[in-house]
Symmetry: C2
């Protein structure tokens, strides 16, 4: 490969397997998959998810919504609670034909949506975020606020499309039992919220749940209509520690070049620092701390025991994870050697790059643009 480093490589075969695995699992459970494209921010990646059976996409910013809509994706869920001053930008997309669903989790936000909807003679499609695990946003499934929000929206002429939750605390787990239990909690609490709304006379056709770990751990999704998941498309070392993939299934890696050594310390210096890997240290408190990344040879085979133990902006230090000094680093990894580094967190690492290089089974590489900003 004649590729300048550092570069973000996508192993197309691994990615295709990851896409199929999630799609087949959810199809078997009788629910739709609405992938979260915040992971890749890449049209080519999302097209492959769509071709495999995904229905609609999830986004984390209005810029993602605009970029994907421009590329032909029209069923878009913006899964971050709506700031009132972003409603005009959302409305502009809807006016151009985008089936955009927005999210609220509070009375003031619902009131702002109603006010804008009335002022513009529009009915927004709105979901209500439910807090199913206490990790971030959302209204409690048993809270009085839930019914109040639904009532304000429906009475105000907006469409209550459904309820949504994200059991993001799944990233802190690492056993199959705990993941399956959290997946059931996520399902049950979100379905319960939908039932409360329906009992109160509020239409609530959709029940949307998901995170990559709970999606893969779920055995029963009764009452759920769709699952959202993002990082599964690439997987990463955090997900490997959680237990839902192996390092060998990680489809995103950073190609780096050896630029120096500190022989006595057993250090190999590579041209991939935190700018190339991201500052994400998500494995720091997990079973295996990979530093800033795991190390593979140029073909992608994991070199056991080596990690990116330190990182400055454009320098990475590759050394043994156990802290001992490899006496042969200069001979084993001469200057110019290419290495592939697996990321802690694919969403964060991908975000450092304007492009991916998609590597096909025949070794050919194609530039797949991704976008940055808001």
């Amino acid at each position: 490969m004649d590729i300048e480093t550092p570069a973000a490589l996508i192993d197309e075969a691994r990615m295709a397997a990851n896409i199929d695995r999630m799609q087949l699992h959810l199809t078997a459970l009788g629910v739709r998959l609405r992938p979260h494209v915040k992971t890749s921010k890449c049209i080519e990646v999302a097209r492959r998810q769509q071709e495999a059976g995904a229905q609609g996409i999830t986004v984390s910013t209005l810029k993602e919504a605009e970029q994907f809509f421009a590329a032909g994706f029209s069923d878009i869920l913006y899964a971050v609670c709506m700031a009132p001053d972003k409603l005009d930008r959302a409305l502009a997309l809807i006016r151009r034909g985008c089936a955009l669903t927005i999210l609220v989790d509070s009375v003031p936000a619902a009131e702002a949506v109603v006010a804008k909807g009335k002022a513009e003679a529009r009915a927004f499609d709105v979901m209500i975020e439910i807090d199913s695990d206490g990790h971030r946003s959302g209204v409690q499934p048993e809270a009085a606020d839930l019914i109040e929000i639904g009532t304000i929206l429906q009475a105000g002429g907006q469409r209550v499309k459904g309820v949504l939750t994200h059991a993001g605390s799944s990233y802190d787990l690492d056993t199959a039992e705990a993941l399956e239990k959290l997946a059931e909690q996520e399902r049950a609490l979100c379905v319960r919220a939908a039932e409360r709304l329906r009992t109160a006379g509020i239409a609530c056709p959709e029940v949307s749940v998901g995170s990559t770990p709970t999606a893969l751990a779920a055995r029963n999704l009764a009452g759920v209509t769709e699952v959202r998941a993002g990082v599964y498309v690439f997987f990463d070392l955090v997900m490997s520690n959680v237990g839902v993939c192996t390092p060998g299934q990680v489809a995103l890696s950073v190609l780096a070049t050896v630029i120096g050594h500190q022989a006595e310390k057993g250090w190999v210096i590579v041209d991939a620092g935190w700018m190339a890997m991201s500052r994400d240290r998500g494995t720091q408190r997990q079973k295996i701390d990979y530093g800033y990344g795991a190390v593979c040879d140029a073909a992608g085979h994991v070199l056991d025991g080596l990690v990116v133990s330190g990182a400055n902006q454009e320098h990475g230090i590759v050394s043994r994870r156990d802290g001992t000094a490899d006496p042969d680093v200069v001979e084993r990894f001469p200057i110019g050697t290419r290495l592939r580094l697996l990321p802690n967190h694919a969403c964060a690492t991908g975000a450092q790059y304007p492009n991916y290089l998609a590597v096909a089974s025949d070794g050919s590489a194609t530039v797949w643009p991704r976008f940055q900003g808001w």
Copy 2:
């Protein structure tokens, strides 16, 4: 300000004061300042450094060299050890008239430069990196390799422009005494390396040292010809903990909007998560751990005790640093409230944005593009 959030704001007055402070300090010490533009990757910022008296720029990637050369900067030091397969790209810049200096710290890299120089009938300007504090790259000032590298380069027809070191371990310090001591160590060891080369008959006109903390702590730079520093242009919370600035001098901030609350927990949810702040947790092991950032009101006044305690991709959790729950967060920070968040690490936070918004004293904001990638 009618600005969409999240946005990276530069306080122009603070930045100008930061630029002047460093320039005046180094001018008084009789050395040139070659700012490291990896911090901003922004032409407008570097122009202001140049106008204040900086001579030449330092870059961390060849893309930076290309972008700044295209904008009229011609004296450029690429301060990361040269990978042999990047020599063609460097040469292309030199052929277009760029006064590009490259860096090596090993015999094989020096040999690769000589081979390329001979093959192309070119003399590269080369500096030799010295390890003055053990934190990363560079040859030991007393090592036999130093003279061997210099000899290979000079005998091979290349220009040994000088020696360079970066005492990056200064980021781990937090007292004036320790910083001054490290600044003197950085100076003395780099000057010593230059003297060894000169004694061996190798021309070595330049002695380049620097990191923001050691640059500001230095009292005597005898034998040094230039200082490199980057983050001083913005400063950040890491630098505040190191002790070389106050939070009130930090010129880069992230403007965010309140999108929700978890009232019982005392949490304010903002639309600036780790994508907006970066994953940098550089203050984690310092005197004050600011989480993912310190919190200011929209005018930039620090709200004592509040930090970004948690971050997902597009969600930030603002709460008290001491872990207690503020009972009044909903009333104090209603949905739609604007906050400014100070970054742990300005280089990492800036890198998340395609543009800065430069805010002048009159409140007007101008888009200043920055670039991404390699």
